[in-house]
Amino acid sequence: MNNYDAIVIGAGHNGLVTAAYLAKSGLSTVVLERSATPGGCAATEELWPGYHVDTGAHSFTGIDQRVLSDLQLSSGELEILSPDPVLVSPQHGRRTLTLHHEPAKSAQSIQPFSDRDAARWPEFLEAMSLATRVLEVLYETLPPRLAKANKGDLWELARLAIRLGRVGRQDALELMRLIPMTVEELLDEWFESDALKGTLATSGITGICQGPMASGTAYLLLHSLVGGGGVVRHRSQLRGGMRALGTALQQAAVRFGAEVRLSSPVSSIRIKERCATGVSLESGEDLEARVVVSSIDPAQTFLRLIDPTELNPEFVRAVKNIKYRGVCAKVHLALDDAPVFGRGEENGTQSAVLQGASIIIAPSIEYLERAYDDAKYGESSKAPYVDAVVTTALDPSLAPEGNHILSAVVQYAPFKLKTGNWDESRRTVLRDSVIDTLSTYAPNLRDAIVHCHVLTPADLADQFALTEGNIYQGEMTLDQIFMMRPAPGWGRYQTPVEGLYLCGASAHPGGGLTARPGMAAARAVLSHSTKNR
């Protein structure tokens, strides 16, 4: 069979979610994936015998609960493991800041750094959750249609949120105030401790080529809280590794009748009279469908898979203007001993690490800004921000018994270097900077390393088909969110090509393992196809 109602390009989690919803609604659906495994950036590879490493994302905040229930994903299929405490932030002098689900426990850990900050912690959480509530409403909303993008857009959205009646005017106004702020300004309003501010500021810079002193980073902090149930830096992983997500979603899609074809790279999207009519595969096979949904990013969808003469030059310009600027790299370490951070068991740091808490290296906002300074001029950070996890803490089955895996997201490692490429020497420098940085806080780490593996931004770009290695398929900056995502006026999953939709992280509400773009895109496709019948 080569004729379908819908073709989904890419079996990342969003693509599979879209496909499952479409199939569930009775559309004959096929998912085409270039690699041999489903899941996209939710990937687990056996890098060394017995070591199953999450080579893409190693954490997620929260998959939309409705997706799990709509797609009937049982906890047997998808076992979500969420540690508490959620993070440890080692500091100089072997001190450690630890954040927990329980605000009082976090406050207790903050207290040695600042009494005042500890006292304000619950109030801060409350304020953030109010602002986050507005965002949650907006993330549920199909961004308004825009004839022309203008400065009032965000305010329009806020009014929309008020109209929906689920949030108060004050909350919306506060959100409007916060969104364009720098994460530094936001945190300075609340706290004085460098340790706490540095730790929290990391949420405002993840995946963007900006430092914590850049406008709009406060927004990204709020974005990171959506789906976290009020817990700052809430993290989860999946039993068996992150690949379990792709496997479970593939099974769900297939259960609803979708076909998932792995190792089937698409070479072009076929268009006739500005309508999508199907795709051609690199194998030479042509598939027909009246709906094509692309979960890959706009640069690849529009500039690689589509004959550009089918698109308006204004749209091509907008697509080319999308900023990617990947800044993340990954370092994976196989360890024959657990790394000991801070004072180890003395202050509970070790048990936190061994319960799967994130290990955040960000001792101050200034530290992060200096890390960014290097990237600003096309170099990777000499002292990088590291977000590491001992994935084997929650799931020992990922490594041979008694051994551990430490997975680290490293920032900033700019895709575009000032000179040269991401060659072997740069890879070595990056690896060493991460090991050096971590060893400062866990002196036993270096000797425990059995294997080491590095994914530079160039590797991430190749391995996960991410333009410029951007983990969110486009930076989550203020000019690239809501109805400006992926491009101004195209925030409703549709594209200028009739029947072609976007469903990946490049679409509203953006990146992360949330399943939200995939779910919303399916909704958009279904609402049109019912109308067109």
């Binding site: 004959d307 550009p308 030059p313 204004e314």
Partner: protein, 413 residues
Amino acid sequence: MNRTGAGAPTAVKGTPFHERTQALCQGKNWRRWSGFVSASSYDLTHEHEYHAIRSAAGLIDISPLYKYRICGSDAETLADRVVTRDITKLAVGQVCYTPWCDSDGKVRDDGTLHRLADSDFRLTSAEPTLLWLHENAEGLKVEIKEETEQVGALALQGPRSLNILNEITDGALAELRYFHVIQTQIEGISVHISRTGYTGDLGYEIWVDASDAVPLWDTIFRNGVKHGLAPAGLLALDIARVEAGLLLIDVDYMPAHRAVIESRKSSPFELGLGWTVSLDKRNYVGRTALREEQSRPTEWEFRGLEIDWLSLEDAYAEVDLPPQIPGMTLRESVPVYAEEEQVGYATSRSWSPTVKKYLALAHLQAKYAKIGTELKIEITVEHQRRTAIARVAKTPFFNPARKRATFDVVRTP
């Protein structure tokens, strides 16, 4: 200081013919055209120059036109994708006049597209178009080169233009048909000659490497004098183009990319250029919008108006004056009425010395645009607003057979 902060020179440039034109421009009556100085008239008034165009030949320096060369295996694809006409049907050696639109089907510019070889085009435009061409060339194998400063251009227009050129080329020019182009030599100078122009008359445009511009001017001039050739400036040209019913960007329409409000934009249909719009050809910029527009009744038409002489006389007689007519083309928009209701506006007005009529080019609501419809145009008589009768007329107002005539042998047309 003659420089901007960025260090770019801000002085207006001379064209490749400047050395000659500046010596001839007795009245020092210059205007600016796309960053070049360009003669409004060479004599103290432009009348002689106008009559040279209509009764002998005028030589007009049109070098300030933006000129682009599009080459490469996808050159046809790019050209066809940008303009509204079907370029796949444009043969080598052919030229077409065409507008081009934005994605909403609104006109950005208009110009001529010359097919010099299978994959070699020259595009002329009034607006800078390099970025637009590049934006449309995404993914195409083309080379786009701007040659505005590298190529000089002269329009030789008028009934004697063929005679002048025949004597200095190899004679093949008689066979050059309307809207065609050839590569040839004028006394050893390599040129392209296209049978095109902005006067609605028999005429040619000569495209030459800037380094050969001055000798070319001298050759044409030396040979042309005995035929009554005169250098002609933009004022004379402006009258001729109104007689020819040819619209002028920024005067008769606003380029879509510079319009700040929607109502300032025009579709090709609204500019009387529906004949240039191919709705069946391969996808091009604006096709969807143009198809959609074509399926609806047109709201606006671009038409000629002839202003009634007697009614003009009456209006002036009321203040004891004889009728006054513009000596040059007026470019201010004036209202056009049906009874008391404004139904349009005239964007170019000129007295035609050849047709002997007061003419205008006007945008009219479609239901008032039928040929012969009697309307009223606003005129100012002794500082007071009045109206004169104006009838919707066919353009071109002046359309001599010699414009498109084919000449088998060398003869006086």
